[in-house]
Symmetry: C2
Subunit: 344 residues, 2 copies
């Protein structure tokens, strides 16, 4: 089966597939006992990301269970700052941490050696493409510059990303330099993933929702546009999903402004608005992950509403954010069954 016959790739070309193909953000994750077992064997979280044997195994686990239409490379958006030698740590019970960067630090940042550092990721992608069923789309991914920068500035996750917003107001020149550097190295990273076998890629802008209008344009739209332009210039057939969580109203112009083929929708996006966005091209989303934890009627009704509103156009069914550790794997089975039994 060629790449262009894979269902998710067809949706990314603008086709309507019924029932819609599906995958779940963070589908390789702690809700699966087999993931937890591999995680324990691997050692640290970054060891899991950088050891192809383990990364391939956890990527394949949800495909074996649920035959999702896409597998997504197991990795983390913070491998880029890790490659930039920011001393990234994932400590159990804490969020991710790294050495915070200041204005001078940005001026001396270099992308030398980053791609070399990420070689195990490309090895993982290559192995995945060989081991995955032919019909399964393989997605690569990376973080968007703004979201990655919020961690690099603060050194950790922060409410409302206030340290990065403040830094950007105080040091606009250095901050734009950081975003440009991240855009360029992330684009190169995506191109290497595509060359290694990824069918399409997703850019995660998890903290896009805290930006004012001008900042959304400068920090969220322009760097992602820069990335997508670079990727498509280098690999014209590459397809890109852009997911700006919390962007709400700003999504109106996001697809056109960034050049993304499909846009990801979080669970707070009203379905009426989602349907408008779908008129311009494929959308992906947007079930509240808490509905999967709840199961039963709450999950059924949530899925049904999305299928009714968006199932007649180009849709990749997904959650509106990553699946959480408390989700019951049986609920995911029920979800898959319900989506796959939809008939336009």
């Amino acid at each position: 089966m060629s790449q262009t016959q894979r269902k998710i790739m067809q949706v990314l070309e603008g086709k309507t597939i019924s029932p819609p193909p599906l995958w779940l953000m963070r589908q390789a994750g702690r809700y699966l006992p087999e993931y937890r077992a591999t995680r324990t064997k691997a050692g640290s979280f970054l060891d899991l990301c950088y050891t192809p044997e383990y990364a391939v195994e956890v990527t394949l686990q949800p495909i074996r269970r649920y035959s999702f239409d896409a597998a997504i490379l197991f990795s983390d958006i913070l491998v880029i700052p890790d490659g930039l030698k920011r001393n990234v740590r994932f400590t159990e019970g804490h969020g991710p941490e790294m050495d915070p960067i200041d204005a001078d630090g940005i001026l001396s940042l270099t992308t030398e050696g980053v791609i070399e550092h990420l070689k195990p990721v490309f090895e993982t992608v290559g192995r995945l493409r060989r081991e995955l069923p032919a019909e399964t789309t393989l997605l690569g991914f990376c973080g968007a510059p703004w979201t990655v920068a919020t961690y690099m500035i603060a050194g950790h996750g922060t409410p409302d990303q206030a340290p990065a917003r403040l830094f950007a107001y105080r040091n606009p020149r250095q901050f734009m330099r950081l975003l440009d550097l991240l855009a360029d190295i992330s684009a190169e990273y995506l191109i290497h993933q595509i060359d290694a076998g990824a069918d399409a890629v997703q850019i995660f802008d998890s903290w896009a929702g805290v930006l004012g209008e001008n900042e959304f344009d400068m920090f969220a739209v322009k760097p992602v546009r820069r990335m997508i332009d670079r990727v498509k210039q280098a690999r014209p057939k590459a397809r890109v999903i852009a997911f700006a969580k919390g962007a709400g109203y700003m999504l109106k112009t996001y697809r056109q402004a960034t050049g993304a083929d499909a846009i990801g929708l979080d669970w707070s996006i009203p379905l009426s608005f989602a349907a408008e966005l779908q008129k311009e091209g494929p959308v992906q989303g947007n079930l509240d992950p808490m509905r999967v934890v709840a199961g039963g009627d709450a999950m059924r009704e949530g899925i049904d509403a999305i299928l009714q509103a968006l199932g007649h156009g180009p849709l990749i069914f997904n959650l509106g954010h990553g699946i959480t550790p408390q989700a019951d794997p049986e609920h995911v089975h029920a979800l898959v069954e319900q989506v796959r039994s939809f008939s336009g």
Copy 2:
């Protein structure tokens, strides 16, 4: 000077005042040395809220410094769960905590004694009205049922308010009962504030942004509508500002759906959208508080953009969220001066 001559009250009637009147959310707060001094004297944070002498003092401090057009009662949205005997604690360095409530706990909740418990707040309001300059609007406030419920369910603040979303999916009947109970007691609380001397009131729905479309309607819109209906039925001249932080696109219909006189805008609301919303009535906002920390060009340009976009219609100038402890009081002076020198 009568209530109806106060500038903010005129804006709440739909009038355009130029330059626009202003106040800042959390204007009585840790960025002021005199606040920190009173806070230390008062003992616990709740002692500060419940001791009229101290609560009056900190409410007046920013008025003395900046002659803001409104003073807002110094209190906290969690005095309602405190009155409901949920054992609310504010510990230094932690966020607020309380005993989490479960489905059975909701069924046995009673509002008996809550208003009695909050008598010191009404005493504070009364003293404030007597001590404030005649031209200063006095605002009362409370939390919206959804936002208050997120704390009651989890027992503390939570990322994305996942525990409350999950609880609502699992226990829809009990959750609606909690929201109704909170709406009713909060409306009564606001009516008492108005009777004690508050000119208008603001309802804070700080976590409205994490709700899906149906949930926004059921959890954020309907309970606030219920509150505003009750308040206006009891006190027809009462004016209400509703601030649903993060609601983004959903604000389109929020004013009409809730019956609020003015709607508060957070800093992520694009000014073009804000201008549309202003066509339907007064708006309040929406400078990024980090611009006040940064000062200089970042603050000046942010203020200017708001004044240009919204200064020709009914506007209460404010921040898009509370001012933060790192803000320099001198920057606030510059902000006030810039807003007051605006000439249509």
